[in-house]
């Protein structure tokens, strides 16, 4: 299975958008998902295809928006809180140490909040986009620091809660799009675990 930086970059980008507000999606979210996972294994490509097919159907967009709202936004009942703090902080404090971990990682990588960052830094769409950014830089640069940052952020942070978020989504949603997205996310998390584990070891060996 190919696990180069470009492949990771594309997949994280597609996933970041897939978790974002449906009203902000690229018009052809389906194509983005298909191509984002095209270079990965058949299981992931197939899962991505399922998500893409559901996401690109214009008739279902309102329904998906409602489901997104129920899962991640609805102030009356967020079914699957979209912040790392909810899963990693025993006290579930927003903007506590867990959020701060993400914020510091962004600063270390040279990033500041953009105009659309109206959520705490450990929001799922932000963290996925950050992983996309790290992989993008990794692919463009010979500096091993970008891979190290990817691996560290994944292993110490995002990789610890992304599967739990996906499990929560799978459990709470009645919308096919998010059910399939949860499956894709779970499978992808395992693949990234393996990919970054291998990449990290290679980097360690090279350093040694």
């Amino acid at each position: 299975m190919p696990v180069n930086a470009e492949d990771r970059s594309n997949a994280f980008l597609a996933l970041a958008r897939a978790y974002d507000l449906p009203g902000t999606w690229p018009e052809d979210i389906g194509q983005l998902l298909r191509k984002g996972f095209a270079s990965w294994n058949d299981e992931l490509a197939g899962a991505a295809e399922a998500v893409a097919a559901l996401g690109e159907c214009p008739d279902s967009r309102t329904r998906i928006a409602q489901a997104h709202s129920k899962l991640f936004i609805d102030p009356f009942r967020i079914l699957s809180p979209p912040w790392a703090a909810y899963y990693l902080d025993p006290e579930k404090r927003l903007l506590g140490p867990v959020s701060q971990y993400a914020a510091e990682a962004y600063v270390e990588a040279g990033l500041a909040p953009g105009s659309r960052q109206t959520e705490p830094p450990d929001h799922i769409a932000h963290e996925l986009e950050f992983m996309y950014y790290l992989a993008f830089r990794e692919a463009e640069s010979d500096d091993p620091v970008w891979l190290e940052r990817s691996a560290r952020f994944w292993h110490e942070h995002l990789g610890r809660w992304l599967p739990r978020l996906a499990a929560s989504v799978a459990e709470n949603t009645e919308e096919d799009y998010y059910a399939r997205l949860a499956e894709l996310t779970l499978a992808f998390s395992q693949a990234v675990d393996a990919a970054l584990d291998g990449q990290t070891r290679q980097a360690d060996l090279a350093d040694g």
Binding site: D20, I29, L111, T118, E119
Partner: protein, 888 residues
């Protein structure tokens, strides 16, 4: 690297960049470029990449967790608010705070906040109906609102727009006044009448002050609290907490309260009055003070021969002809506009700084003995006498501290007068150690809106209001004017009856009337029938459940610009609300940014009056620049209205207090302080008709006659329509009125009353874990629970134990709570703290948020929607509802 600007929608455009990267970006696809496509990030500036200041920075703002409105400082570390303290530069609270500001940290970072605009997708409205909210952009939300308002204007019915206001800063008029008036609606309805208007009624008709008072705790020798709980809630809590210890070394404290409050627990005397009978107690104390010759003779005056003719049961002989008899005839015959008549003959009593003490005695006090009051109030006659004489012995250094508890009652207008008039008897109004008022501040007003009202707006904005003010049954006599005040809770009835007209479009901000009003079910019904409702709020709440649009508002302490005016510790002050952290969510400032966006949208639709008002009427006072967006508008408006505090070229600069050195200095310091209050300046110059402290209120007489004349009736007719039992000349003096209760005593044996929590930030703390986890700081309450407190004698009779779940039923509804046996209230009464019972306020506030199951019960579901009609107030206190209590 920056956010990608989409330039192409063709498939190849986003598909592959030079190294095979995908480029999906926000909204559409992005062209292949060298950099990554980022929605949420941008390149950090060198400055931003500096290591964070580990120690953080203290930044000034204002806490509006209660009506004290204390200047505070927020410690901000790495952009996160982590701690609070009082602003040490503020002379009012002198660097002190109470627990409430700390809870604000949990509010601002509450994951249950509204994070972005939401629109309703389910048209069916009602409790338990899923609104089906979906997120939308601010642009789309404001388009929807502007379209609805334009429909009203195009149909020639702008009066069908309403704006409901809860809490506010003093930038309020930008939204609250300008939007309805310039659109053409009379219906801007504030929360004030569910807050404390009846409390202001008393001082106004005694000394001409429609306001809260300040208290000279440093020099006082006696504090008599009427339902007030100053070390816990309402008002000037941090100042009171800080001064209370030293004050107790010098002063006696007596607390009249059906509940053993935090203040009562530390008082010398606790008078557990039967709810609603405060007025009886107050007039009995006045009786004692006069009968015992204990009044302040240098302030009130004395009988010309020094003989005390205030003999219990006996009228003081008045000179002939009897002015009182003449007055009585006029009362029946509606003679409006008479000049005030001197009610006291100099030949009998030489009255100095007050007006009508003999008439008060003759009309009301002569028979109000402590023994009479003991039967009504449950307070022993001896204690009434002891407290009255102790209070009087302190002379002008005595404080009769009136609160909503003793005034927001169905017949509480006269209780408010009676309790405040005690200050007049001892001469403590405007005196050292007594009850004082605010010092003038140099803030300004918003520009005149009239030039921006078109013909439609000018005429329709004068229509009758939806809250029934000024009708016969709702005199609402703020400022002495018929209909001069607000009747907040009657707006729901007006909406349901479509009287005086239907409301089709409404905005509510910083409010939750669907929870916070007695008989809250009426609001649920009215909001269900409202065709288009916008709720502008930090947290989704019961009211949001009925909204077509829910718009996220900035938190007042951390995210919002504004200013407040307050007074404590003999200083008035102006304190800034400042944006000390970048908002986490996509929030806007309710009083400035949102109306500016609305103005832009209305202008796009051809109605630019509001936009012109904002851009022509407001400008940066330093540069003269007109605002081009909501943030600039906010800053310029704030600078304009507070200019007298910081601009040395302003005519009032330095006149009343601090001379701040420019706008940046004001922001840094956060507070402007007035000079210290000067005692005695208002004596004989009170804003009453006589200029005196009025025991016989000529001011109220004129107001009541004016209202009677408006409705072609008599003053007695007004009293009858407003549920008062006093008649004739009693209308013009503080007098006893029996408590009004709903529910048959046999079926509903307990008098229910409620109280406030020392942790509640004006009813907005229920979703904070710290509130729930420390609830037992309120005497008698339990953590993570909502308890009904019952005297053990009653609990034994019903066979109820601690922790039993009980059903509390009144004539208007049923709620459930946990029973708490507690000696801190008298048998025959039951009490519960206000604040629990939310079914739509967040996961912490509810027992089962998903299923809308409340934690405990909302008192307003069992409180009858009764009014104190002379002030327009909701009568939430005084035990308006009887209840029965049954084990679940």
């Amino acid at each position: 690297m920056t956010d990608q600007i989409p330039t192409s929608k063709n498939d190849d455009g986003w598909q592959i960049s030079r190294r095979g990267f995908l480029q999906g970006s926000a909204g559409t696809v992005a062209a292949a470029t060298a950099g990554p496509a980022l929605n949420f990030f941008t390149a950090a500036s060198a400055q931003a990449q500096q290591p964070a200041e580990a120690a953080g920075k203290w930044m000034a703002s204002t806490c509006q967790g209660c009506t004290s409105w204390c200047p505070v400082q927020v410690k901000v570390v790495d952009g996160r608010a982590v701690h609070l303290r009082g602003n040490p530069l503020a002379k009012a609270n002198h660097g002190k705070i109470c627990p409430r500001p700390h809870l604000a940290l949990q509010q601002v970072y509450d994951p249950d906040r509204v994070r972005q605009p939401m629109k309703r997708t389910n048209p069916e409205k009602g409790r338990g109906k899923d609104p089906g909210f979906v997120p939308i952009s601010w642009d789309e939300a404001m388009d929807m609102l502007a379209d609805r308002i334009m429909e009203l204007r195009n149909d020639g019915e702008p009066e069908k727009f309403a704006l409901f206001r809860g809490r506010y800063t003093y930038l309020r008029d930008i939204l609250y006044s300008a939007v309805p008036k310039i659109i053409g609606s009379p219906n801007n309805i504030s929360h004030s009448a569910i807050c404390a208007e009846a409390e202001k009624f008393g001082p106004y008709y005694v000394e001409g002050l429609w306001d809260y008072r300040d208290y000279d705790l440093e020099h006082t020798r006696y504090v008599l609290c009427w339902g007030a709980d100053p070390v816990s809630s309402n008002r000037q809590v941090p100042h009171a907490i800080n001064f209370w210890g030293n004050m107790r070394d010098n002063a006696t404290v007596a607390v009249v309260d059906p509940r053993l409050s935090a203040t009562a627990a530390k008082a010398d005397e606790w008078l557990p009055v039967i709810p609603g009978e405060d007025g009886a107690l107050a007039v009995a104390m006045a009786h004692v003070i006069l009968a015992e010759g204990a009044w302040n003779k240098t302030f009130v005056g004395d009988f010309v021969d020094g003989e005390n003719r205030f003999v219990p049961g006996q009228t003081v002989d008045e000179p002939q002809p009897s002015v009182a008899a003449e007055g009585a005839e006029r009362t029946e015959g509606i003679v409006a506009g008479d000049a005030p008549t001197s009610r006291t003959s100099a030949s009998v009593f030489n009255e100095i700084h007050t007006h009508g003490v003999v008439q008060w005695w003759n009309l009301e006090l002569k028979d109000r003995t402590p023994e009479w009051a003991a039967e009504r109030t449950g307070i022993p006659a001896e204690q009434i006498r002891r407290v009255a004489l102790g209070f009087a012995a302190a002379g002008s250094r005595a404080i009769s501290w009136l609160s909503p508890g003793a005034s927001m009652q169905a017949r509480g207008g006269y209780s408010a007068m009676a309790t405040h008039a005690l200050n007049g008897l001892v001469g403590s109004i405007d005196a050292k150690g007594g009850v004082v008022a605010k010092v003038k501040d140099p803030t300004g007003s918003v520009p005149d809106m009239a030039p921006y009202q078109d013909e439609l707006a000018a005429s329709h904005s004068k229509y009758d209001k939806i809250d029934q003010r000024g009708t016969l049954a709702f005199p609402s006599l703020n400022g002495g004017k018929s209909g001069g005040g607000v009747v907040t809770n009657a707006a729901a009835d007006g909406m349901l009856a479509k009287s005086p007209n239907e409301i089709k479009v409404a905005i509510a901000y910083w409010s939750n009337f669907g929870f916070s009003t007695s008989g809250s079910y009426r609001w649920e019904q009215a909001l269900s029938e409202l065709p288009f409702f916008v709720h502008l709020t930090t947290n989704a709440s019961e009211m949001s459940m009925f909204a077509d649009l829910v718009l996220p508002a900035a938190h007042q302490l951390f995210e919002k610009w504004g200013y407040i005016k307050g007074k404590q510790n003999l200083h008035s002050y102006v304190s800034l609300n400042q944006r000390v952290i970048d908002p986490l969510w996509d929030v806007k400032q309710d009083e400035t940014e949102v109306p500016f966006m609305l103005a832009e949208k209305l202008a796009e639709r051809g109605f630019d009056n509001l936009y012109r008002y904002y851009t022509e009427g407001f400008a940066d006072p330093e540069t003269g620049a007109a605002p081009t967006n909501g943030e600039e508008f906010t800053e310029y408006a704030l600078k304009m209205l507070t200019r007298g505090c910081w601009d040395s070229t302003h005519e009032d600069y330095g006149k009343y207090g601090d001379r701040l050195e420019g706008w940046e200095d004001f922001k840094e310091k956060g507070v402007w302080n007035s000079h210290r209050y000067e005692y005695g300046k208002r004596v004989d110059n009170f804003a009453t008709q006589t200029g005196k402290v009025e025991f016989y209120s000529e001011t109220l007489k004129t107001a009541l006659r004016g209202h009677a004349e408006r409705h072609d009736t008599t003053v007695d007719g007004v009293l009858e329509a407003t549920n008062y039992v006093g008649r004739g000349e009693l209308a013009f003096v503080p007098h006893f009125e029996p408590a009004l209760r709903h529910g048959d005593e046999v079926e509903y044996p307990f008098v229910f009353f409620e109280h406030r929590s020392r942790l509640n930030r004006e009813g907005r703390s229920a979703n904070c874990t710290w509130y729930q986890a420390h609830k037992n700081v309120d005497p008698g309450d339990e953590n993570w629970s909502d308890v009904l407190k019952m005297n053990p004698i009653d609990a034994d009779a019903l066979g109820l134990d601690d922790g039993d779940m009980v059903r509390i039923t009144s004539t208007t509804g049923t709620i459930t709570a946990q029973l708490k046996r507690w000696e801190g209230l008298r048998p025959g009464t039951v009490a519960k703290c206000y604040g629990q019972g939310h079914w739509a306020y967040g996961r912490v506030a509810a027992a089962n948020f998903a299923e809308h199951v409340p934690l405990g019960g909302n008192n307003n579901e069992i409180l009858y929607p009764e009014f104190e009609r002379l002030s327009g107030s909701t009568a939430r206190h005084g035990g308006p509802s009887r209840v029965k209590v049954e084990r679940v």
